[in-house]
Amino acid sequence: MKKLLIALTATAAVLGGFAGSASAQEKKKICFIYVGSKTDGGWTQAHDIGRQELQKALGDKIETPFLESVPEGPDAERAIERMARSGCAMIYTTSFGFMDATVKVAAKFPDVKFEHATGFKSAENLATYNSRFYEGRYIQGQIAAKMSKKGVAGYIASFPIPEVVMGINAFELGAKSVNPEFKLKVVWANTWFDPGKEADAAKALIDQGVDILTQHTDTTAPMQVAAERGIPAFGQASDMIAAGPKTQLTAIVDTWGAYYIKRTNALLDGSWKSEQVWDGLKDGILTMAPYTNMPDDVKAMAEETEAKIKSGELHPFTGPINKQDGSAWLAAGEKPEDGVLLGMNFYVEGVDDKLPK
């Protein structure tokens, strides 16, 4: 029953997505596949804002059809292939879970360029791009340690994949750089998108005694709960200040637009090559929402850390760092390879959780 539903939804979405874009053959089609709805207030919305900036910048040369709410899994492959057949010159697949589907379709369509967000598999015509979200989470951790009276923050996590684990670790490291005793409680919601469940997780954390919240899920529900309970919180993927004008301290804001424009221009002038891009704060692919609802000294600290990360003076993962069980991971001054970070499957010391395997 569910399969049928997904298939029907996907078909409806495909038909809808192409309805308005059949004409204007000379324009290049730059296509996007979204995992959520373009108005989710978080992850997908950030990608869609990037798409709109791209459309605006290269207006008369391209058109940018997109498919929303494409479920990860076998249906993603059909959706991407459908896009490729419809004459897209380039396809951005914007969720980690589209990785294998993108690899398969890319192999079938060597003339189409593919760009997959946050993955680690590439090919001749398949590039990957990612953002160093952990840089922002390190800053959040520092702010949390300054703002929390109890020294315990709550973290609403989605799934135990390296990206999420890396974020948890960066947050804890940032917090410990300010308060070495700082603890982090983690709740796994096992979903990216379910306002109710995310709110429940937020309430559970607050009821268990945390006095600051951060999230790695997509909706503003946790921010809203934090606002009701009167504790500060951090936004995720998009600026969530509207959901908590007196609650949001800052947010990691994904700003994909500049990257989309750069890569699409490269396609148009023929210089596009398959690359594995992992940009951060300094490249503008990631920005911090204004530092609000905090004292000036905390704000100054956050701004200083941000500047140091941008200049390369500070790498959030700099030794000495111990693993959760106390065994040594990085020696003093040592920094990990990108590959190690991208495959991270262990916690650093101070995280009050056992990593689900």
């Binding site: 983690v186 009050d352 689900p356």
Partner: protein, 308 residues
């Protein structure tokens, strides 16, 4: 802390109970409406939009009820008047509802919602513990409790309820006795839609006062399962809804408690607990085949054409 957890459980369980009660009435009349998810999300968007435009969460509730109810009439027209297949129509209703609500709601995305405030009942709310948990709730919670007992009375104590169950068990015989099958079913479907709409209103006005596409996130399907789980008995819907809500919230706390105790329990396992609990209870309930058979509406999902 126990009190705080209980309050969270009530918020999480209420929409499940309300939507399941509506579907129970519809199914007791013999109509299987798989469109609960769609009607619920239509209720959620209608409630949010109405509350947003009028500034009143109470008009929002009304908007949710009307939104869900009107949407269910579409199902009624297709399956009762045109005698279309109920399973297929219900699925279509869900898909249509998810899409349509996204379209209607686009203007309301990101807006801070209007929260339905609790109605504190004087005197009763002064009772220690229970007063704060049971009598300082919002209107939709009180409605959910009233619905449980109201529907119980209606189905098993009133004449109209008896007629409706007769239709659900054998629409041919009921028709021969002169009961208006189609009209009764229309009303039952409408009631089911209104309840689903009310459940949706709870989501967008109480649970998470905001509008996001797909915000029901599968709760309509859980409500549908609850009806079977409760073997079509309203009180069991209440118990089942709260069991499901409690296990769902409990697993989040269990994660945290396990963490501070240093015990490693996979969170995926804990997330699956509500569903595992459902299966266990289902096995226990269906242990006695006779009672299950007595409660199952025999004409459920079967098309009815008056002149046959």
């Amino acid at each position: 802390m126990f009190e705080a957890i209980l309050l969270t459980v009530i918020t999480a369980s209420t929409p499940l109970v309300v939507a399941a009660l509506g579907e129970l009435v519809s199914q007791r009349s013999g109509v299987l409406n798989l469109g609960v998810e769609g009607m619920m999300i239509m209720g959620a968007v209608a409630a949010f939009a109405t509350a947003q435009l009028t500034g009143s969460p109470y008009l929002g509730i009304l908007g949710g009820i009307i939104g869900g109810g009107l949407f269910s009439l579409l199902f009624g027209f297709l399956t009762l008047t045109l005698v279309a297949n109920q399973v297929a129509t219900g699925l279509a209703l869900t898909i249509l509802g998810l899409g349509l609500s996204g379209q209607i709601g686009e203007a309301f995305v990101g807006m801070p919602g209007v929260r339905l405030q609790p109605l504190v009942i004087p005197v009763l709310s002064d009772i220690p513990f229970f007063g704060r948990v049971l009598f300082s709730q919002d209107l939709i919670f009180y409605m959910s409790v009233a619905l449980v007992f109201g529907i119980s009375w209606f189905l098993f104590k009133s004449r109209t309820g008896l007629k409706m169950r007769a239709i659900g068990d054998n629409h041919g015989s009921a028709h021969a006795l002169g009961i208006n099958v189609v009209r009764t079913r229309y009303l039952a479907v409408l009631f089911g839609g209104a309840c689903a709409g009310l459940a949706g209103a709870q989501l967008s006005l109480v649970y998470t006062p905001q509008w996001v596409e797909n915000m029901t996130a599968g709760r309509g399907w859980i409500a549908l399962a609850l009806v079977v789980f409760a073997s079509w008995r309203p009180l069991r819907v209440l118990a089942g809804g709260y069991l499901f809500g409690a296990v769902g919230i409990g697993q989040l706390h269990a994660q945290l408690l396990a963490q501070s105790g240093g015990i490693a329990i996979p969170s995926q396992l804990l997330s699956a607990l509500p569903y595992a609990a459902t299966i266990v209870v289902l096995i226990i309930i269906s242990h006695n085949r006779r009672t299950t058979l007595i409660n199952t509406p025999a004409s459920l999902g079967k098309p009815f054409v008056p002149d046959r």
